[in-house]
Symmetry: C2
Subunit: 247 residues, 2 copies
Amino acid sequence: MPHQDTPLVLERLLRLRDRREPLVAQIAEWVGSGIIEGRLQPGQDLNSVELSNRFETSRTPVREALMLLEQEGLVEMKARRRPRVASPSLQDIRDIYQVRRQLLAMLAGLLVERATEDELTELRGRVESMRDLADKEDVDAYFWSHVQLQERMTEIVGNTTLKQILDSLALRTLMLRHLSLTRTGRLAYSVDDQERLIQAYEERDGELASALIAGATVRALRAVEEQLEQDTARTRPPGRAKRGRTS
Amino acid sequence: MPHQDTPLVLERLLRLRDRREPLVAQIAEWVGSGIIEGRLQPGQDLNSVELSNRFETSRTPVREALMLLEQEGLVEMKARRRPRVASPSLQDIRDIYQVRRQLLAMLAGLLVERATEDELTELRGRVESMRDLADKEDVDAYFWSHVQLQERMTEIVGNTTLKQILDSLALRTLMLRHLSLTRTGRLAYSVDDQERLIQAYEERDGELASALIAGATVRALRAVEEQLEQDTARTRPPGRAKRGRTS
DNA sequence: GCGTACGCTAGTGTCGACACTGTCAAGACG
DNA sequence: CGTCTTGACAGTGTCGACACTAGCGTACGC
């Protein structure tokens, strides 16, 4: 049940507008959203012939779209080998969250310095509507609002390099979202974190904001880890290991 | 006078090994090193036909190589327009250094936590040989040693996400290197900074290390800014403005 | 029965051709 | 004399074809 804004947000996150032909953009959006929504499983082959048939194009634009997604960490490509949906290891995931924590803390600090009062009230408005979505347990809508909130914050801060990196990291974590926010109760915790954050911004307390971000990120990672353990515990015993010898 | 290790380091920074065909790698290395060494000027057109002639290939691998460099911020591509060598604005440069400062501080903190004594002595050895290069005013060799030092540090820390981002940022700053380290005296300052850093690592003082990194990065940015001002002051009056209205 | 060598096939990387579009210059028009 | 239109050309995006290779099943040797 993908949220209807998915393709639009993806288009922005991948910076497709004006940077790529519509054809490439279309393919990248389809594959990218497929990975994020779980329609395409980690490790699955992304046969470029099949994709070109599906979109009734040649393989050239398909290759280009896959290369785009590779750079965002959603797809793994090795020369002469079939592209696959990325399947990050637990260590990879930890690394990503660690960097993300640092950069989000940086974002918070800059936001406290630079955001106007009007911008802060706008952010508060966003968080309040996220509270509604969390109450309705509308996971998809909540998640995309979350992404858009971060997008808006990076926009306010105005550091394009930071924005691009955070967007890329957001995409990587996005493909884990069914592992984190779907856990019951996570949504409520998450929105609580956001509210506290906004308050710290309004009080212009950069230290507090950074600390809150760090805490929230750690909790998000922990949720992902727990979910991952459950998943492997559920799928491993039957012997359906994706790869690696079962010895 | 490019340093002889340039292509090898570039190959690692661009993660070309096994990820791309040798043909693509070759083109990416040539163009990438050209940009870094100043053989290709910012804003210059990167005609894919001309490049394909130069390498006696079709345009397909050329396009792929250019896309690779685009993702590293060395090349700018817009759909249906000729690819150009990136010409970052002053604001872009400031943004890059700001993010880089933050991530290098993170790197320093992790290094203090995780590096073994042996690894630290290895790093010290590298810095000492950099001191020699600085004394000889061998700017190119110094610069590539600097890059390799950072590479090694990210390797020791072992966070691949952090490594990739820092590599990418290093490439972007690399194309500004003739703007920063060529300034007389900069080399000596830079190596001083590195020595103080190593000492902080050895004393396991993460706070100090982060602070030193931040200071060093700020100084590097300032050097770039001053050089940029001189350049524009020298080239603008004749009326060779690249773009933007002179009002 | 187990491991290895061989051959087939699906899929990748590269190519040259073609249609379309941005770009620049010469000419038309005021 | 300056501005706008027009047209040619250069360069891009896409295509279908081809050579080559990785992956896999089969047959063979042991």
